[in-house]
């Protein structure tokens, strides 16, 4: 660790060229809440850290003319959680960001870092998958976009290449009359990470469901969404039985739920069933109990 080089580029171009120069030997540093832990535990031994802290244009939150939300990668989770526009337009995202770790972590951790880290047991990824969010990425081959539903590949792995940089998280506006919520289930202490986290968007018009999007986080290696099941809900009048059935189907569809100290695979499937049902019931204004 003594010979670790700390680099602080001022522009995106500089950051990109430093990345290219160091190849896989450099690690990008956003808020550092994950990277510093990994360094401390010697799980990574990069030759250089490229800090994004001084790079112009990576800060801030904006809403464009079409009503889409643009979060720059260095916005902290605390900023996203507190932002009035996010709270009004995408409450699910604000709720998920407010659930991460504790206030000290949220002040330091960034949304971009959270996406790039792809920690299976974090809250924002599921929220952004349910919100049809996508990321903008720049690299030597130019700029590309990736839907978050396809961005996460597995434990701590994404489609980001070693020489690429995530420059923005974009979230389209919610469908009309949609409400959204993030329901985090912690099986151990109050500061634990989720055993399962359910991110749900639901729109109901004239008593019938017009849109439903549900992503289940922390249950599997990546956030899980089953559009075919979501489509089955559209057009239905939501009752406890229908929501229960949907939740059961969602739980059953999970491919290989994780088995760890927060819950066995079997328990995670059960908790997915319970929390998908609870999240949708709450959004549909149904009784939450069995």
């Amino acid at each position: 660790m003594t010979d670790l080089v700390f680099l602080e580029p001022a522009t995106l171009a500089e950051a990109n060229s430093l990345l290219a120069e160091h190849g896989g030997a450099a690690k990008l540093l956003a808020g550092g809440t994950a990277v510093v832990l990994l360094l401390g535990q010697k799980l990574i031994r990069p030759a250089a850290l490229i800090s994004l802290g001084r790079v112009e244009g990576l800060q801030g939150i904006a809403v464009d003319a079409e009503g889409a939300l643009h979060v720059r990668p260095m916005a902290s989770l605390a900023q996203v959680a507190a932002d009035e526009r996010v709270r009004r337009g995408w409450p699910l995202l604000a709720m998920a960001c407010a659930e991460v770790g504790n206030v000290r972590v949220r002040n330091q951790a960034t949304l971009g870092g959270n996406m790039a880290e792809a920690d299976y047991a974090s809250d924002p990824p599921a929220a952004l998958v349910a919100l049809d969010g996508y990321v903008r990425i720049v690299g030597p081959r130019g700029e590309r976009q990736a839907a978050l539903a396809e961005f996460f590949l597995g434990f701590y792995t994404t489609t980001l290449a070693e020489d690429e940089l995530l420059i923005e998280i974009v979230v389209p506006p919610l469908p009309s009359r949609a409400s959204s919520a993030y329901l985090k289930y912690k099986s151990r202490s109050s500061e634990d990470r989720p055993c399962v986290g359910v991110a749900a968007v639901l729109a109901v018009e004239d008593g019938a469901c017009t849109a439903a999007r549900v992503a289940v986080g922390a249950a599997c290696e990546t956030p899980q969404r089953f559009p075919a099941l979501e489509r089955e809900l559209v057009g239905q009048r939501l009752t406890p039985a229908i929501v229960g059935e949907f939740a059961g189907a969602y739980a059953a569809a999970l491919p290989e739920p994780l088995d760890d100290l927060r819950g066995s695979a079997w328990y995670r499937r059960e908790m997915t069933r319970v929390h998908v049902r609870r999240a949708l019931s709450a959004l549909a204004g149904l009784e939450t109990a069995q």
Partner: protein
Amino acid sequence: MSPIGRDTPLLDARERVEGRLPYVLNLSLPGMLHAKVLRSSHPHARITRIDAAAAAHAPGVVAVLTGRELAEADSIQHLYGIGTRDQPILAVDKVRFVGEPVAAVAAETRDQAEAALDLIEVDYEALPSVDNEMAAVAPGAPILHDDVADNIVTHYKLRRGDVDAAFAASDLVLEETYTSPTAQQVTMEPHVSIAQFTDGRLTVHTASQSPYGVRRVLAEIFGLKPEEVRVIVGPLGGGYGAKAHVRLEPIAAALAWKTGGRPVKFVATRAEEFVIVTKHAVTIKIKSGVMRDGRLTAREVTSWWNTGAYADAGFMLTRGGMLRSIGPYRIPAVRADGYGVYTNRPPAAAFRGAMASQGAWAYESHMDSLAHALDMAPIELRRKNILREGDAWATGEIMHDAHYEECLDEALRLLDEGRPLARAEGSIRRGRGAAVMMKNPQAPSRSEARVVLRGDGRATVYTSTVEMGQGAHTALAQIAADRLGLPAHSMQVVGPDTDQTPFDQITSGSRSTHMMGNAVLRAAQAVADEVRELGRRRYEVELGEITLADGHLHTPDGQSVPYADLLNWAGVAQVEQRGEFKTEQNLDENHQGVTCSHWHQGAGACEVEVDIETGKLTVTRYAGTSWAGKVVNPVRARAQNQGNIIYGLGPTLCEEMVFDGGQVINANLADYLIPSILDIPLHLHTASLESKEKDADMEGIGEMTLPCVAPAVANALYDALGIRLRDLPLTAERIWRALHLEEVRHEHSREH
């Protein structure tokens, strides 16, 4: 007004808040080197080769040590331990747990020391391993130590009455088995020691609860006289038993022995904390005979304490565990056996409320099971059998100052037990539970103190009691101030430093206020007597007429003199006295006799909510009580009572070290969860119960509300759902699975 019984801020409160407290962790000495240790990756293996030659030539490296070198050094006794010398400073031929120190390096920087570890080559020949205490005592289990053929390193027994006959004559006999897992104390400050040899003397700055214990063991290891070892202890960032015995000191000192006089600092990482010391896992089989009216007739308790690869404090703790698994009840016939069992786990030692937590988990859950079997209210069953004044306990000793029922009553009152409870609401079910505990203080035991009234009229207490956040130094200052007629905040407390402060056994087991408090009281009383004598000579009044208050000596006719002036008048530079307090124990091999002069007593009662769809249990209300005799510092006593409950919620609900192939898989605080501030019950009430007598003794209250937490919560869970869990922790998934099984059984019985 006496400083005793008054809310008194910690003497070092300002330094704590301002970050100026001199923790050993922050101490740096001139020329100091940094230690790192290579640890075993095998739970049980022969070391067939170690090659550390390359590490010795690595940049910045000053000393490299292997177990072989220490074993072959004439001046070093490389094996140490409290009941048996079974633990090498560094493994020699064999490793016995994942994380056992195998080689050590001292270098100019920590990074250099760490880099050098990579250059040490170790070849292992794996041996079969065992990490569960019951598997370790089964026939054919792998043997850890050649001289302990059955892995049972120690066995203590208690025999009273004819247990078998009493069982035969009982209306009901119930046997259950309870377990609690290996856990970690998780002090905020990690273990840290700095050692230096100068002119044949060894000086150690260390974060230890036992300065004199460390001195004795280091003197034995290095063949020094105890006086040739100086142990200086700063304020601790938490102890909880984790620092009660020798930990990093032998390695730091062994490295220092090779550096030609340069000091060596060894700081444990958080991951290392989990392999340095743990809480005993235990399996407790408890069987009770009871008459239909609820009278207990007999009890048999067998406990297997998982001491890990080395006994550590396992001798006295197994004995404590055996005694602390019986319970505060009047039972005519008792048979108890406690076994200390070697396994391929990291060594286990005290964990706040040592062994009493594991014991109460078993006997207080069991009391509720017995009550349900008898169709009797659990509190009624306790009242029928609880120890009262003049009752004989399992050792045959007669109980004096027995306040168990009072503790229980007060806990129930604080919980407001009569309040109606909405038992079911949506997916939430609610229930209440209670528990009582007893714990024997360490005995025989001894504390000494020195109190000096200085020429400036203020006073200093010299004590080897360790301040670890519990407020002991403040309590001792209050006690001395009371006798000396000085304000508590004007007192200075010095120590521990074995060159300056007199002997004390240890700071643990809730003993300091009682043991050291009485030693300080005696020393301060002797100083006060001497000051009065000076006053008698100066003013020619009767001794009995003199009062000491506000730093002045007062005579009945209204004359008064500041202490500084009085000492000056008498030509005395200072008045210095020593005080000592000792306790005895007198038990035979069947543990019949007298354990101690007083008992630690406490109770707890709680209300829980369980979400039946997830199994998640929330403690919504908790009330804990402890018997204090006389409270020295009410605000700190309350903090201790509350802290115990919060600390106790961890092992109750989520704390458990999980092993895979002998390797701890959750040795970090993201995977090993301790309660956060949000887990504290919304309604948390505590009380330290006091005697009505003016001269009541000051009893320790550092642990008494802790052991009841797990059984009280489990009993409340049973009250809510009819589920009896016998394995800690009470995780959501465990409760969910039990609920699920109940449903299955219910379905099954309906079909038939």
